[in-house]
């Protein structure tokens, strides 16, 4: 009998569990049969191979000669240009060509598994470079080359809030042969390339229900994670990470067979379809909560589906002329995936997880289930599928559309319960309640079938012409988010996100924006969603929720934003009276002095608006910048901004002042600022400027983006960084309290070489 295991003692307390544990502990598996010759045979082969590959070799230099001492490393910008120059391999010493090494890693907030990319401006000896890598603290890693960029991929999560050093430590250029007897000529020791970065703080542990209460939430704001066209679908993993598909970086076409090459008669979707089939390969990536694509998980992925717990993911992958059901985990840094099943036709929906260890999919109109080894799991009764299918989170029940109508199947007994005719948009709560919609000619009705109920009950119904879909339960199984669409393709459609108490209440708007496909994060504090951008395409956003009581400043900000929303919506609706009610006397005078029209009924007319910046002036006043997009005959032609001073007057906020910007024509093209955010961090600030397109990296500098004070004097910026994935420029400053302005000049270009249409200026308020 083995010694007690304190871990097992802590883990198991139930007497019946302890009996099984005791049995397992006392019944160690029998020693396996072993051929003693095998052990010595393998040892001999290994030693022979080790002698061939292991003999100690001095580290090879990966450049031809040693660098000049004067070229010391200087970290200057976010795209960490090490002012360290090396020499191209093979160059004559008399005419060395410098090789620049550029490191791309968030220096102060690196994701815990973020690859470290070192870009070389010239050819190097790749093997020698790889051999020269030293990471401190010790880290297991693997490497790959993307052109001239060396990507160092940690094989485990890096420690949070820790300074890491990645060094390339090349050996001296002239290395004596081990057998040489003469003393080698002294060579200057090369200066190493050193990249230092600090990993992000550990994320707060998810708050699990019932600590989270969806009945007591406030919408705080939203931020864009990915622009339209840069992602396919996105979803939360069971452990609270975001995974998203994105077009393959090398633009390769998908390996998936064309529809014509697959048998017809493929079954319909097993769940609401989400991924576009574009013919272009989509890769699956882990995405940080700030929208950065952190690490690839799998290539050529169709319809990923996250397991309800941990970071396991199932997806479809082309396999010759068929499709494979694959499974991998966000923790598998080696990018390995397991093949579980093969289907003949192109899948039209994601596989669905039945609990944590079984996956269901549809093939030839029938539901099939496999475990995570790919072993078929028999069903108690065949389940024909003609539409959507959604399993309960514990995997015991399945809501499904069958040729005979919608029903809920008990997967253990095989018994089914019919749902009302037309039931669709199934969504299960963590407690086992099923929400679904029934569409009828006059609108939609939301039903909930409680976990212990035999019959569903109606929760709410829509106005005529509204279509409700995409139900998503809050983690505490109390509230539902969903999308309501109205209109028609001919007349134009609109959508709005609604929040409803599942126990029965009138749905109320969520966030006040045309959000779609909303997904609550596992801890309930964020909502992943899509929102149409200027071109009508879906961009990926995340909304932040405040759970519990708002602080005074947060409440004041919500009130101020609500006033601006009322003001702007009224202007777009040509409702002069309501708009005017949001202006104080000073605000009315400010509009008159600036010659700004409140309404724009003619051409161009106000088409839409959105907030660009919200800055705290003091606890009773805010600077809120809004961008007003103008259109002629429904074609958007340009925009301008109004920076509104919104201040408290007795019990309500009113608009006291306005500063307009110059109009910008959309026909000129070029990059545009989308939002400006000021974050006070200790004695300094972080100023985040979000652009709408890929910027030319070499134009993102402190000439193009400047902060000026009230006298137009440029202010010192500690550093400036640019994240290509999120189009985000971050400036770190240490400004004294006061008024400043952010200026973006026309020297800034996008990757197509198009310059900013005209200088952009936005006021900044530093409160200290």
């Amino acid at each position: 009998m083995r010694e007690r295991d304190s871990e097992l003692d802590e883990l198991f307390s139930d007497p019946q569990d302890l009996e099984v544990v005791h049995l397992l502990r006392s019944a160690r598996p029998a020693a396996p049969p072993l051929d003693p010759h095998f052990r010595s045979y393998l040892r001999g082969k290994l030693i022979a191979e080790a002698r061939r590959t292991l003999p100690a070799r001095p580290r090879r230099p990966w450049f031809g000669i040693a660098p000049m001492p004067a070229m010391a490393a200087v970290a200057a910008t976010f795209v960490l240009v090490l002012g360290y120059e090396l020499y191209q391999r093979g160059q004559a010493p008399a005419a060395p060509a410098p090789i620049r090494v550029t490191a791309q890693v968030d220096r102060t907030n690196a994701a815990p598994a973020e690859p470290i990319r070192l870009q070389f401006s010239g050819a190097v000896d790749r093997t020698a470079v790889e051999e020269s890598i030293v990471i401190q603290p010790a880290t297991q890693y693997t490497t790959r080359w993307e052109g001239q960029t060396l990507v160092v991929i940690p094989l485990h999560q890096l420690a949070a809030s820790t300074t890491y050093t990645v060094a390339l430590l090349p050996a001296p250029a002239s290395t004596p042969h081990p057998s040489a007897t003469a003393a080698p000529a002294p060579t200057p020791a090369p200066t190493p390339v050193v990249v230092r970065f600090v990993t992000a703080p550990a994320p707060p542990p998810p708050v699990t229900p019932p600590a989270f209460a969806s009945a007591n939430i406030t919408f705080i704001g939203d931020s864009r994670l990915a622009d339209a066209g840069t992602f396919g679908v996105a979803t939360w993993t069971g452990d609270g990470q975001i995974m998203a598909t994105r077009p393959a970086l090398n633009g390769r076409p998908s390996a998936r067979p064309s529809a014509s090459s697959t048998p017809s008669g493929t079954p319909a979707a097993t769940a609401p379809a989400a991924a576009p089939v574009t013919g272009k390969a989509m890769d699956l990536w882990l995405m940080s909560p700030s929208g950065k694509f952190v690490r690839p998980l799998a290539t050529d992925v169709l319809y990923p589906a996250a397991a309800p717990q941990d970071g396991t993911v199932a997806f479809w992958h082309p396999a010759g002329d068929r499709y494979a059901l694959m499974e991998t985990t966000t923790g598998d840094l080696a990018g390995q995936a397991n093949q579980l099943a093969i289907v003949t036709g192109p899948p039209s929906a994601p596989p669905v997880w039945l609990g944590a260890d079984r996956i269901a999919y549809v093939d030839a109109g029938q539901l099939h289930v496999v475990d995570l080894l790919g072993n078929p799991v028999p069903l108690a009764a065949p389940i024909p599928v003609s539409g959507a299918a959604a399993p309960s989170l514990d995997g015991h029940r399945l809501a499904v559309q069958t040729p005979a109508g919608a029903a809920v199947y008990d997967l253990t007994s095989g018994r089914s319960t019919a749902l009302p005719e037309g039931a669709t948009a199934f969504s299960w709560s963590p407690k086992g309640d099923l929400a679904f919609a029934v569409q009828n000619p006059t609108g939609s009705a939301l039903f909930v079938l409680g976990a212990t109920e035999l019959k569903p009950h109606a929760v709410a119904s829509s106005a005529a012409g509204e279509l409700w879909s995409n139900f998503n339960w809050s983690p505490d199984a109390v509230s539902l988010l969903f999308t309501s669409r109205s209109g028609s393709p001919a007349s134009g459609t609109s959508s709005v996100a609604l929040l409803v108490d599942a126990a029965g209440s009138t749905p109320r708007p969520f966030g006040g924006r045309p959000y779609e496909t909303l997904q609550w994060s596992p801890d309930g504090r964020l909502v992943l969603l899509t929102r149409r951008d200027e071109t009508g395409q879906a961009a990926l956003w995340v909304a932040t929720l405040k759970v519990g009581t708002l602080s005074d400043v947060e409440r004041a900000q919500q009130e101020a934003l609500a006033v601006v929303k009322t003001f702007m919506d009224a202007r777009l609706a040509n409702d002069s009276a309501t708009a005017s009610q949001q202006l104080s006397a000073a605000g009315t005078a400010a509009y008159q002095q600036a010659g700004l029209a409140l309404l724009s009924p003619g051409s161009p007319r106000f088409e839409r608006w959105y907030p660009v910046t919200v800055q705290l002036i003091d606890k009773d006043s805010f600077l809120i910048g809004v961008r007003i997009v103008q259109a002629r005959d429904k074609v958007e032609t340009g925009f301008y901004e109004e920076h509104l001073t919104v201040a408290r007057h007795d019990q309500t906020f009113l608009i006291d002042g306005v500063q307009p910007s110059a109009p910008v024509s959309l026909s000129a093209g070029g990059p545009a600022v989308v939002s400006v955010e000021v974050r006070q961090e200790g004695a300094g600030q972080r100023i985040l400027v979000h652009f709408d397109s890929d910027l030319a990296v070499d134009t993102v500098n402190q000439t193009a983006i400047v902060i000026r004070d009230g006298n137009d004097v440029p202010q010192h910026v500690l550093d400036l960084s640019y994240d290509q994935q999120t189009h985000l420029v971050t400036l770190r400053t240490k400004l004294a309290p006061g008024s400043y302005k952010l200026v973006v000049t026309t020297s800034l270009q996008d990757v197509n070489g198009k310059s900013l249409a005209q200088d952009y200026s936005a006021p900044l308020v530093i409160t200290g």
Binding site: V20, P32, F38, L46, L54, T139, L373
Partner: protein, 185 residues
């Protein structure tokens, strides 16, 4: 850090350059890696293939191995886990269970031993029927006496997730092996 771990670290450092040191690592870890492979595969020749694959992969990559505070064996188990998964991917489906192998020395009387072997065979056969991740966690904990933190590293999961797998595994054995409860009690 224990002195044992420091010795292991030195040995691993040397094995990155010295074939004989790699041989010493092999001598130290062969039994547990082979046992682990066999417990997952139940086929001697396949277990030999997988064990061979593990050590050749370890040799190929040992220059990249850096010490992270976890035993070197965790890394080997990680490679073994992947090799086993690769095997199943190639083979599809489980291999048939074989009879339990030779009995280690120094065990109780013959009748007790027969009962013990039967129960052992049945409980480990039941473990073989668990879902893949539960099975790996159970084998590493109950068969290999690994710490939960180590299993987490090997399986690339959080310690909490490993605890959950162990819990589920034990629960499922409780459900699937009601007769065993009687025997134990």
């Amino acid at each position: 850090m224990s002195g044992g771990n420091e010795n292991e670290r030195d040995l691993v450092d040397r094995a990155q350059r010295d074939p004989e040191a790699f041989g010493a690592l092999y001598d130290r870890y062969f039994p547990q890696i082979y046992r682990f492979a066999y417990s997952r595969l139940r086929d001697q020749s396949v277990a030999e293939d997988v064990t061979s694959e593990v050590f050749f992969k370890a040799l190929k990559n040992i220059k990249r191995y850096t010490y992270t505070g976890h035993p070197f064996s965790s890394w080997l188990y990680q490679i073994a886990l992947n090799a086993v998964a690769d095997h199943y991917r190639r083979q599809r489906g489980e291999l048939e269970l074989e009879e339990a192998g030779p009995v280690p020395d120094g065990l109780p009387a013959v009748v007790d031993e027969v009962v013990r072997r039967d129960r052992s065979r049945r409980v480990w056969a039941a473990i073989d029927q668990l879902p893949r991740q539960q099975r790996a966690a159970m084998v590493l904990k109950f068969g290999e006496d690994r710490k939960i933190d180590e299993i987490a590293v090997i399986m690339r999961k959080s310690p909490g997730a490993v605890k959950l797998l162990l819990h589920r595994g034990v629960e499922r054995l409780r459900r699937d092996l009601p007769a065993l409860e009687v025997e134990v009690s």
